[in-house]
């Protein structure tokens, strides 16, 4: 099946083209079959290809398929080449698998929407771009996919383009992502200048072989610069501080979009890229430290904002930012495979949380405010139970998927000598458990706070929505078992072993081996913290409803600060947006454009008009005056010829 690798991205592309070009005339059933069929077949072929990959010996799991030469200009060659190795295999399965599930869910969720075909065309196009991103074997092709997913993200955030806020959110996402992309592009340039190649294999081989003058860098150097520039791209795409501002606004898009693009796949592209470039990052100490700090600070920062948000999707958005921060922190402390592990489990339970939230919103006829939900447990059995599972998974309760991946990250942070990262991670884990169960309790427990009209058509979602929920819930439970930690005494971590060939060229610093008992103890601590978080949420929102408001009243300043998201948007508005707008309007528009450009054009016109007003008097229609002018001219010419020459 590996020979059919090229079909995997082309299937969604074909689906996108058919639905995009002909969808307006096709019935909804046909559109759904095309969109889900292409995604589903891509998933099946992906499974086949990965199976083939696993059958190979671990050392040979690096399949490169060449298709054609895209650009050849002098020394510079960019090939259309796909790479299938354990890392891209994991991403491939996550993207096509979760993508397919969300496509199926969308049939139910979007059935009443206008532009049904447009939605599925964009979704398929997104899958295509994302697959290009993860399968590419060089930085340039990766960048093509990178931009492609950015475009689809923009199109889908602005899906309800008749709403001004959706259009604004789309533009914000697009602009913020461009800022990150500048860094990414500069990083690619620097890679080409340094290594004279953009192929992953060639670049990483040169780095690992130490051919290009740097050993492990301790200070600032070329690798550090490359790493930092690439990381700027990753902060944009993966919504890390300071470019995180677009992701919460991106919730303007339809919920399946939030689940697929802004939780499970696209936003993790930055993590994937950092892990893919592990040979670079692991040797660029400063860059790696920046990754760690940004990651863990983002994780903590976003989790605190998530504590007080009342829009169900915004809570999940901040949770996503926070979990992405976790993944970066994992990569930063050198635990690249733990980061990818968390990426995978997070794709399961966060997609589930979004889809479940979508199901709840759907049940209430579009209500997103947690304060106007409550007591949904009785009406939406499947949604409630699956979301509860996902919340347990993200909180890191044993034995759900999130436990294994989060524990792997926290343990790596401690074991690799970053106790502060561990502490912040632990705190974040507690906060995560709290805000996630706050969401569950507010939405599904307690008094029913929705309107009588909402109660009237309150219903559980159709099977096309609940079945994907159940599938994802299963994955959220068992997904972690692929990477059972070593301390369970069942052999080494299978998932990490599997990823090992992809990370072979990374630089692995030596660390003291700590005993399994210590590791088990640390796992116990993180579960304990999660349980404390859940208990507080239970106390505040179920046992004593109303006490949360009282607490907020007591800590008014802090509450306001969190509710307004640390005023980051306001600061950006004041520091960047408004000066740009004002400067453009006052200086560039009213000053330079109106004053200088228009002034020059109008000035020339006015000067000609004025001089013509004087000169026109010469042409007065009087023959005698013309004769006099001719005479004068002749005299002047003669005077010039005989007197001045």
């Amino acid at each position: 099946m590996i020979d059919y690798l090229w079909i995997i991205p082309l299937l969604p592309l074909a689906g996108s083209a058919i639905n995009g070009l002909l969808g307006k005339r096709l019935p909804k059933t046909v559109i759904s079959i095309i969109a889900c069929g292409t995604a589903g077949f891509a998933f099946l072929i992906a499974i086949g290809a990965v199976m083939d990959l696993i059958r190979l010996a671990p050392g040979e799991r690096h399949i490169v398929r060449y298709f054609f030469t895209w650009i050849a200009s002098g020394d510079f060659v960019a090939k259309a080449e796909f790479l299938l190795d354990p890392l891209s295999a994991v991403m491939l399965l996550v993207v096509t698998g979760v993508g397919f599930i969300i496509h199926v869910y969308s049939i139910g969720y979007m059935h009443a929407e206008d532009g049904y075909y447009r939605f599925f065309s964009y979704m398929n196009l997104f899958l295509f771009s994302m697959l290009i991103l993860i399968l590419s074997d060089n930085f340039l092709l990766m960048f093509v996919g990178w931009e492609g997913v950015g475009l689809c993200s923009y199109l889908l955030i602005g899906y309800y383009f008749d709403r001004r806020s959706a259009g604004d959110a789309g533009k914000k996402a697009f602009v913020v992502n461009r800022i990150g992309d500048v860094g990414f592009v500069l990083g690619i340039f620097l890679i080409f200048v340094t290594f004279n190649s953009l192929d992953f294999g060639e670049v990483f081989r040169q780095i690992a072989a130490g051919e290009v003058r740097f050993p492990v860098e301790t200070g600032v150097g070329t690798l550090t610069a490359i790493g930092l520039l690439l990381f700027v791209g990753a902060t944009g795409k993966s919504a890390q501080i300071p470019l995180h501002v677009w992701l919460p606004d991106a919730m303007e898009g339809p919920t399946p979009v939030s689940a697929l693009i802004h939780a499970a796949t696209m936003v993790t592209a930055g993590v994937y890229m950092v892990v893919r470039c592990s040979p670079i990052f692991s040797r660029a100490t400063v860059a790696l430290e920046v990754v760690t700090v940004i990651g863990i600070v983002t994780a903590l920062f976003a989790a605190t904002i998530g504590l007080v948000q009342t829009d169900i999707k915004r809570v999940l958005a901040y949770s996503t930012i926070s979990q992405l921060g976790y993944m970066f922190a994992a990569a930063g402390v050198g635990a690249f495979s733990a980061g990818i592990f968390h990426l995978m489990t997070h794709a399961f339970f966060k997609a589930l949380l979004f889809l479940g939230a979508g199901s709840a919103i759907h049940a209430l006829g579009g209500e997103q405010d947690l304060m106007r939900m409550g007591g949904l447990r009785k009406y939406t059995l499947v949604t409630h139970s699956t979301m509860f599972t996902a919340a347990l998974a993200i909180s890191g309760i044993f034995p759900f998927a999130g436990f294994f991946s989060k524990d792997a990250i926290l343990w790596s942070a401690w074991a690799n000598g970053h106790p502060l990262v561990w502490l912040a991670g632990l705190l974040t884990a507690g906060l995560t458990a709290f805000y996630m169960f706050r969401l569950i309790f507010l939405a599904f427990y307690g008094k029913e706070r929705f309107s009588a009209e909402a109660r009237h058509h309150l219903h559980e979602s159709p099977p096309s929505m609940t079945v994907p929920l159940m599938v994802l819930a299963t994955l959220s439970i068992v997904g972690g078992f692929v990477g059972l930690p070593a301390w369970l005494e069942m052999g080494p971590n299978q998932f990490f072993e599997f990823l090992e060939p992809s990370l072979a060229l990374a630089y692995h610093p030596e660390h003291a081996e700590l005993s399994h008992n210590v590791e088990m103890g640390f796992a116990g601590i993180s579960v304990l913290v999660a349980i404390i978080g859940i208990s507080i949420a239970y106390w505040l929102y179920v046992v004593r409803p109303g006490s949360a408001e009282a607490l907020a009243e007591r800590m008014r300043g802090l509450y306001k600060l969190l509710l307004r998201k640390y005023y980051v948007d306001e600061i950006y508005d004041a520091a960047l947006v408004n000066p740009t707008v004002t400067g453009s309007r006052e200086t560039l528009w009213n000053g330079i454009d109106v004053g200088v450009v228009d002034g020059a054009v109008n000035g020339i016109g006015r000067a000609i008009h004025a001089s013509a007003g004087v000169l026109k008097n010469v042409q007065n229609g009087l023959v005698r005056s013309y004769a006099a002018w001719i005479l004068l001219g002749a005299v002047a010419v003669l005077f010039y010829i005989y007197m001045l020459r």
């Binding site: 026109k616 229609g621 009087l622 023959v623 005698r624 005479l631």
Partner: protein
Amino acid sequence: MDILHYLILSALLFTIGTIGVILKRNVISIFLCIELMLNAVNLSFVAFSSYLNQVHGQIFVFFVMVVAAAEAAVGLAITIVLHRNRNTLNVDDADIMKW
């Protein structure tokens, strides 16, 4: 006789013609003044022809005469049309061709 006398006479005639063209209002008068200017030039042509003992000047005079005849034909026709349409011979009354 010295050539200078011819040239002075020619210049005088040309100047009179020029002043007449500029100052006169009657079309016929202007017309006559133009003829005067042409013939002043003819005079200097033949004077130089004789002085230099070359025939070129005399040939030029014939050309000028032909042009003057053609100009007289066209100019008088215009004058007649002007008189018919405007009932005037004053050139200052025919000044609508302007800005």
